[in-house]
C-alpha cells in the first residue's frame, strides 16, 4: 500500500537523521573551530556555541527517538492512542526547550534567533496536533464503546 511505503520512508528518514545527529556530535568541535577561524567578529563564541549545540543535540536525539516510537505505533495501526498523545506532548515541550536554549545563544549571535523562532513555531504546531489527537482519542473511545 502507498501509505505503508510512506510510513516506512518516514521511519527510515528518522533513523538516518538519528545517525546524522550522532555523527554531528563528533564533528561539531571541529566545525566550531572552523567557525571561529572564519568568523569576522572579534568575540570568540566557541564555548557557548558548543554548549548550545550539545544541549540541542541531546534534545534532538530525544525528539528523534520519540518520533521513531510514534511512527512505530502508526505502523502497528495504533494511531489515536494515549501513548501517541504523550509523545506529541513531549515533542512539543522538547521544541520549546530548544527554543529557550537558542534564545540564550541569540545573546551572542543574533541569527540564532531564527532557530528560536522556528523551534517555537514547531512547538506550537505540535501542541495543536496534540490537541487534535486528544480529541481523536476521545472520539475513538466513544466509537469503540458504542454497541
Amino acid at each position: 500500500m502507498k501509505n505503508d511505503r510512506s510510513v516506512k520512508f518516514t521511519s527510515l528518514s528518522i533513523k538516518a537523521a538519528l545517525v546524522l545527529c550522532v555523527v554531528s556530535l563528533f564533528v561539531m568541535p571541529y566545525a566550531a573551530k572552523l567557525y571561529r577561524d572564519m568568523s569576522i567578529q572579534a568575540d570568540d563564541v566557541t564555548v557557548p556555541l558548543l554548549i548550545t549545540f550539545y544541549i540541542c543535540a541531546a534534545v534532538g536525539i530525544f525528539i528523534l527517538i520519540m518520533l521513531d516510537r510514534l511512527v512505530n505505533n502508526i505502523m502497528k495501526g495504533e494511531v489515536f492512542t494515549e501513548d501517541n498523545v504523550r509523545y506529541l506532548r513531549i515533542l512539543s515541550y522538547s521544541c520549546f526547550v530548544i527554543a529557550f536554549v537558542t534564545l540564550v545563544f541569540a545573546h551572542f549571535r543574533f541569527l540564532a534567533f531564527i532557530v528560536t523562532f522556528a523551534a517555537f513555531f514547531f512547538g506550537l504546531i505540535l501542541r495543536v496536533i496534540k490537541n487534535c489527537f486528544t480529541e481523536a482519542v476521545r472520539l475513538r473511545e466513544e466509537n469503540d464503546y458504542t454497541i
Binding site: 473511545e141 466513544e142 464503546y145 458504542t146 454497541i147
Partner: protein
C-alpha cells in the same frame, strides 16, 4: 447515570450471553461491554434487536439513576 439491566432481562428470559449475541448479531465481547455498563452509547438498531430477542421494551433494559458516580 444510565444503568443497563441487560443481565436482569437475560436471567428472566433464561438466555445466555452467547445465544443472545448470536440472536442480536453482535460479538460476545461487545455484549459483555454493554452488560457491564461500560458502553458509552447504544445504537437504536442494537436496542431494537435486543428488545426483539428478549421480547421487552427499551425501558426494561435501560434505567436512569440520580447517582452520577460512574
Amino acid at each position: 447515570m444510565i444503568i443497563v439491566n441487560l443481565d436482569v432481562m437475560m436471567a428472566k428470559r433464561k438466555i445466555g450471553l452467547g445465544e443472545l449475541a448470536d440472536k442480536v448479531g453482535i460479538t460476545q465481547a461487545n455484549l459483555s461491554v454493554l452488560k457491564n455498563s461500560k458502553a458509552k452509547a447504544v445504537r437504536f438498531t442494537t436496542l431494537d434487536k435486543l428488545c426483539e430477542a428478549l421480547s421487552c421494551q427499551p425501558g426494561d433494559l435501560l434505567e436512569y439513576s440520580e447517582d452520577s458516580h460512574e
